[in-house]
Symmetry: C2
Subunit: 413 residues, 2 copies
């Protein structure tokens, strides 16, 4: 950035703002709970928008509660957007989502204090209900923003407590009047904690995110025959739990064989009747398959399903699959990815190209503009956990990199 | 039985009495619930003892609620006892336990109507809380009867609903004053449905039970590390669920390799946090190992534990084992077993020597006298199930065999 004055993030203020927002909906013993459209979410929104107004930003709220704050540019062009979310899971940490939004506000604050405006405007956004912990699907606000989910359908979504998004938005007073999908965005950058162990384990400061893995969630129901564990010869059994166990072992084998970016997890399993001396007649389990390559992901899905069917058949059991969720892999725009890598190098930050394992609003924005993401390390890979932690130095470095990247994007010819 | 007049069981009356007792505590849609020391158990006891008194039997109740009805013999000797239980599991059938008691009463009724008395007295007993569905351990009444569990300890046992055996016995009015363990028994025969599929599958009418399998129940707790399914590379995982799955698959391999009478079942399993996109950090599962041979059972226990420890270690997880129950195999007295086989042959009933996979009061009585059991087929092997069923002809044949056997035992010199 030899041609422009150096502008530095105020690290202490960034950390203070993370702590302050973390007090809204704070849990005893640490962590935070600000489920989407809850009273805690309302208070979090009020706190964040007050900060936006302090910075003199023009704030608009759309009909699904997405909030966009604009910092005018030197020219009237589509803005470069910095975005993420401020809702959390039930036992969330201080950084997931919040970090990207508050770092975005610090970027604006730093430029403002330096008396600088970029060629294109900057926008700092937080999207509604990224977590999907109360209302499904997750990434709801950004999905509506990019036209991937009709507004009326989103508003009618019923949550785990029976309420609807629309009613809850009205109740907390955050159904806005800005047009959904406005403003049109020039490009989008999201700064986020990794939520995985890779950067922490490798001691790398910055993850240059190339895309988001494709995700396939299925639920399998295996139906065998329940019988007495003490009187049923092994050869006469139809053990649904054994089929689930074989599938779990196969998931690991499959991921290891496909190698590299392939992930496979059996995270949930319920046996019926679940008694020590009764052969299970029913096993319901989930498999979470992820890969950055669409064809490999589809192969993993096919192989896994074929295996479970064959294992069920061999045991004299039946098996049914239900898709719970499916997203194809997302590839971020090379112009944004390369820019992040170049600026990380310029700041002498160690960095590594990597996929995102988790879903993020950036993958929705990637449908309508060049988008990319910056990761900073999560200590121990913990996230969605009250012990979620990122070292202060990493948080500040990530925000500084964000500043350099969006400034470059916004100032480009 | 060439030297004695033929005495025939009244099959219709036996079946009618099974149906009648099955009305006590009947469940809507079939089956019965008479948990030990419940009001339904009290009504079942009243019904059964009324039938005993109709037959002119002397009824005594001991301090744990075991009931013994005596039919005097020609000489004052220790009686030959026919026993079982009338308590049921929560979703029980009409035959488990009840059949052995009511068939015993039909044996006495048939002899009485024929004006016959055996040399030794006959005793028909039902033991308290055989099922252990409300108060553990199971076979409690017969265990106390043979001195294997101190009376006071049994009375102080707290059930799944918080009440104690002693309080519940008092509440239903069935804490008796007969000395525990009286009378001393000459020999013991128990007639029972198989509760397994072997006789039904093979089309064999009678199981000549040689003993009861040894039982080993363990609970394993595997502790790994919970992490995001989308961001944690396969090589960095410590998946407690995978260890449980490997153990489940190994249980089947182990039983198949040891062959024959070896049984191994993983019946219960709970994952934590049990979410589709989170690697389980905790898996708690049970294994039920059974064998008729003590040394083989001990080998299976050792091999299984070693496998789970090694699988946990390979996954970077920890593993703890807790014993839930352990019974060595029981071998019934050859004099009783051979007698049952001879009488089955004399009645031209197809028969097969076999172990019992389930626990029965007979294994407790075997500690103090020669004991044995007769099995009749269970359709589909179903038991502890409202659909438990045995064909009427099989029920009547079993009772006829019981009559022949106890008459021989009671009349022997």
């Amino acid at each position: 950035m030899s041609d422009t004055p150096v502008v530095r993030i105020d690290g202490e203020r960034l950390l203070a703002s993370l702590r302050a927002l973390g007090q809204v909906g704070a849990l005893d013993g640490g962590g935070v709970c600000r489920l989407a459209f809850s009273d805690a979410d309302r208070l979090g929104r009020e706190w964040t928008v007050a900060r936006m107004r302090e910075l003199g930003l023009r704030v608009q709220v759309d009909a699904i509660g997405n909030v966009v704050a604009l910092y005018e540019g030197r020219e009237s062009l589509p803005p470069v957007m910095i975005g993420s979310h401020i809702d959390t899971v039930r036992t969330g940490g201080l950084y997931d989502g919040n970090y990207g939004v508050l770092a975005g506000l610090e970027v604006v604050a730093a430029l403002r204090e330096a008396g600088l405006r970029t060629r294109r405007p900057l926008a700092v956004a937080f999207f509604s209900n990224e977590e999907g912990a109360r209302f499904q699907p997750d990434m709801m606000g950004s999905l509506v923003y990019v036209g991937g989910l009709p507004l009326q359908q989103a508003l009618a979504t019923r949550g785990i407590d029976g309420s609807t998004v629309g009613d809850e938005l009205d109740r907390i007073g955050w159904r806005g009047d800005a047009p959904v999908g406005a403003p049109q965005v020039d490009s989008y950058v999201e700064l986020h904690i990794e939520q995985g162990p890779v950067l922490d384990r490798l001691g790398v400061q910055i993850g240059v995110v190339e895309g988001v893995q494709g995700i396939s969630w299925s639920e399998y129901t295996v139906t065998g025959v329940s019988n007495h564990a003490g009187t049923t010869p092994m050869a006469m059994r139809h053990d649904a739990g054994l089929v689930a166990a074989r599938a779990t072992v196969f998931a690991r084998e499959l991921a290891t064989r496909l190698g590299g970016a392939q992930l496979a997890t059996v995270g949930a399993l319920a046996l019926t009747p679940n008694l020590v001396n009764v052969i299970p007649n029913r096993a319901v389990f989930t498999v979470d398959l992820r890969h950055t390559d669409a064809a490999t992901l589809a192969q993993a899905e096919r192989e896994f399903e074929a295996f479970v069917q064959a294992a069920a058949e061999a045991e004299g059991a039946r098996c049914e699959r239900r898709s719970l969720a499916r997203f194809d892999p997302v590839h971020f725009d090379p112009r944004v990815v390369d820019r992040i890598e170049q600026e990380a190098r310029a700041l002498a930050l160690s960095h590594r190209r990597m996929p995102s394992g988790a879903g993020h609003d950036a993958q929705m924005l990637a449908r309508v503009c060049p988008a990319g993401m910056i990761f900073v390390p999560s200590v121990g890979g913990l996230s969605h956990n009250v012990r979620e932690h990122t070292e202060p130095a990493d948080l500040v470095q990530g925000a500084q990199l964000l500043l350099q990247v969006v400034r470059r994007l916004a100032d480009r010819p």
